[in-house]
């Protein structure tokens, strides 16, 4: 969406609305829908248990990886936190041997990072395959960080048969 500058007319708003609606309609026709798998750790320490910083899920259908995001809100800078998408049993075949991860270095405040896999020319272009168990995880940090969150944005396709 392009946010107009200067005087915004009704025609500007209508044009942007039409563009967004067209994109949503074409996505809807193709049965595409984006959804998010979130993971949040309010206080991530060096001793936070694995179970508290992972979420395992089995893809119910083939799902396109769109983005992997990570953010850290902290009062301390230079803490490195890494969010990663892996296959639960360690088999890298189902991610085509790609490393899907993003590292964020904290600042005093909130820092963000993301892996954008949306473009067709992106070197990481994968779909999570139906029936395979994947894991979204946040690594153990170098020091305590607060409000660490990670999110996977995945896209579905309409099942035709």
């Amino acid at each position: 969406m392009t946010i107009p500058v200067g005087l915004i007319t009704a025609a500007d708003i209508q044009a942007e609305y039409d563009t967004l609606l067209t994109a949503l309609q074409s996505q809807a026709l193709r049965g595409q829908k984006d959804f998010c798998i979130p993971l949040m750790v309010p206080a991530l320490t060096t001793s936070t248990a694995l179970s508290a910083r992972i979420v395992d899920f089995t893809a119910p259908d083939d799902l396109e990886l769109r983005t992997l995001r990570c953010s850290v809100t902290s009062g301390t800078a230079s803490i490195v936190v890494t969010a990663a998408l892996t296959v639960t049993d360690g088999d890298t075949t189902y991610l085509l041997d790609n490393t899907v991860s993003v590292s964020v270095t904290s600042v005093v405040g909130t820092a963000h990072g993301n892996v954008d896999a949306r473009a067709t020319t992106n070197p990481i272009r994968v779909r999570l395959l139906r029936g395979v168990r994947y894991r979204l995880s946040i690594s153990s940090p170098s020091a305590t960080a607060t409000n660490v969150s990670a999110a996977l944005v995945l896209r579905t396709r309409r099942r035709r048969r």
Binding site: E64, L96, D97, T120, T121, V126, L129, R157, R160
Partner: protein, 491 residues
């Protein structure tokens, strides 16, 4: 009134519908222009778990550079564009698919690996599950799938991957123990009857039965190669598998090469006076490309396509004026297995009643289906054609045309008569049966045969897609008063 069975006549834009009717071919409708670049090859692969079909299509820029392999979904929406870093049109663009793993191969580009339904990456070797074997770098060449293994032929060498099963294994593992060689350069690898591996080479066609693949080291159980046919190939994309039979291009057309035989399907149009389009011929048909069709091989040659039905021996060249860039370079399948043509300018669906694009309607002229052949003529008689009757179910929209020796034609909308016999209509509206004989006006032009006999040739044309055409021709002739000279001397 003599009758001729014209089913064996030379055909142009003719096919046989599943109902058995001989018809003018259906329309060719372009579904997508894909990337807008020049498409050079492609294959369709169905996901065995989700039944989605994905299309792997290679294209280059207008100068043949920047070879890119793209993945398209069922609606031909691009999902991934993988730039190979190579310039040039890839020969032998082929795929090997086992379970959900896919290898995209060509001798002219790095081998790519992917999972059907996911993306593509550069293929890298994976260690073998067998600790006694060492994985080789993944070769590049032409590929096929045989007995749950990938087979890649590079030059005269064959690499066979480890088998893939529920217990493990991957088609990215090639070991030295499963490297084979053939006497000649391998230009085609296919799965033949019974799951056998068929290698079409410059030194003959060799077959390795599927029993050889039952053991870890292929062929170590005594199953060995046999020479199935002495046919020699000299280029990639010159052989294909149709219903388990292997066809290969020859100098005069194509032939079955998985067994020894002397049968050959000839592709040249016969040499005769022509009115409806130039003659299709080639000094050497091995310059063409052959693809697997539903009922027989498809041979692409420039902007023309030869479509065959091996069951009844029907062969016909198809041409179209839809686009100057129409040139078949592969075949695709949709989710129902229906054949689509991959052309340099996009993907074409075979169907409908016009040539054109899917959304903007007809952009080509109505298709003219033609049958051409000779009328039998005893050598000592000069014949004058008086009338010819042929039927085609064109309704009121198309036309029926006749040409004799490429010089004379009569064209027009056939006149219905009162007999009310049904031949066929191209409209499902309840308009009543129409019987459509088309007698010519009396032709007073006599054709003199001084030295030759049997060259009273005719072309019959029906202009409109999907029109059913008659399979017999009725004609009347009269003899001239003066008998023609024969080689026995003047009477």
């Amino acid at each position: 009134m003599p009758l001729i069975d014209i089913r064996s006549w030379t055909k142009r834009n003719i096919w046989r519908r599943p109902t058995g009717d001989l018809c003018v071919r259906p329309g060719l409708r372009r579904l997508s222009t894909l990337s807008g670049r020049r498409t050079v090859a492609g294959h369709s692969v169905a996901n065995p778990w989700t039944f989605e079909v994905w299309h792997y299509i290679a294209d280059t820029d207008a100068n043949g550079k920047d070879l890119t392999v793209r993945i398209y979904d069922e609606d031909f929406i691009e999902w991934q564009a993988y730039s190979t870093g190579v310039d040039g049109v890839p020969r032998g663009f082929s795929v090997a698919v086992v379970d959900q793993e896919v290898l995209i191969c060509s001798p002219d580009m790095p081998t790519l690996y992917g999972l059907v339904g996911s993306g593509l990456v550069l293929a890298a070797k994976v260690a073998s599950d067998n600790p006694n074997t060492t994985a080789l770098p993944i070769p590049r060449g032409i590929a096929a799938t045989i007995c749950n293994r990938a087979v890649i032929a590079e030059g005269s060498t064959l690499y066979i991957s480890d088998p893939t099963a529920i217990t493990g294994g991957t088609i990215r593992t090639f070991v030295g123990q499963n490297v084979n060689a053939r006497p000649g350069v391998i230009f085609g690898v296919h799965e033949g009857a019974g799951g056998a591996l068929v290698a079409v080479t410059s030194a003959g066609v060799y077959v390795l039965d599927s029993a050889a693949f039952a053991v870890g080291v292929v062929g170590s159980n005594g199953a060995d190669w046999r020479l199935a046919n002495h046919h020699q190939s000299y280029s990639y994309d010159s052989s294909c598998a149709v219903r388990g039979r292997i066809y290969a291009l020859t100098q005069r057309g194509y032939a079955l090469v998985d067994v020894e035989n002397d049968e050959e399907a000839l592709l040249d149009d016969p040499l005769q006076p022509r009115l409806y389009g130039p003659r299709v011929s080639s000094a050497d048909w091995r310059a063409a490309r052959i693809y697997p069709g539903d009922d027989g091989p498809l041979v692409g040659y420039g902007g023309r396509l030869n479509v065959a039905n091996v069951t009844d021996g029907l062969k016909s060249w198809w041409d179209t004026d839809i686009s100057a860039d129409f040139s078949v370079c592969g075949v695709l399948r949709d989710q129902d297995g229906t054949l689509m043509l991959l052309s340099a300018d996009g993907v074409y669906q075979i169907g409908g009643n016009y040539d054109g694009t899917f959304t903007s309607g007809s952009t080509g002229l109505p298709t003219k289906g033609v049958l051409a052949g000779p009328i039998p003529s005893p050598p000592q008689i000069n014949q004058t054609l008086r009338s010819a009757t042929w039927r085609a179910a064109i309704g009121g929209d198309g036309g029926v045309s006749f040409a004799v020796r490429g010089q004379q034609q009569v064209e027009g909308t056939p006149v219905a008569d009162s007999r009310g016999l049904i031949v066929g209509v191209n409209s499902w509206a309840d308009v009543g049966p129409i019987y459509q004989p088309t007698p010519l006006a009396r032709l007073d032009e006599s054709v003199n045969f001084d030295f030759n006999s049997g060259d009273l040739t005719m072309e019959l044309a029906a202009t409109i897609q999907n029109a059913r055409v008659g399979e017999v021709l009725e004609y009347t002739t009269s003899e001239s008063a003066t008998a023609r000279k024969t080689d026995r001397g003047a009477p």
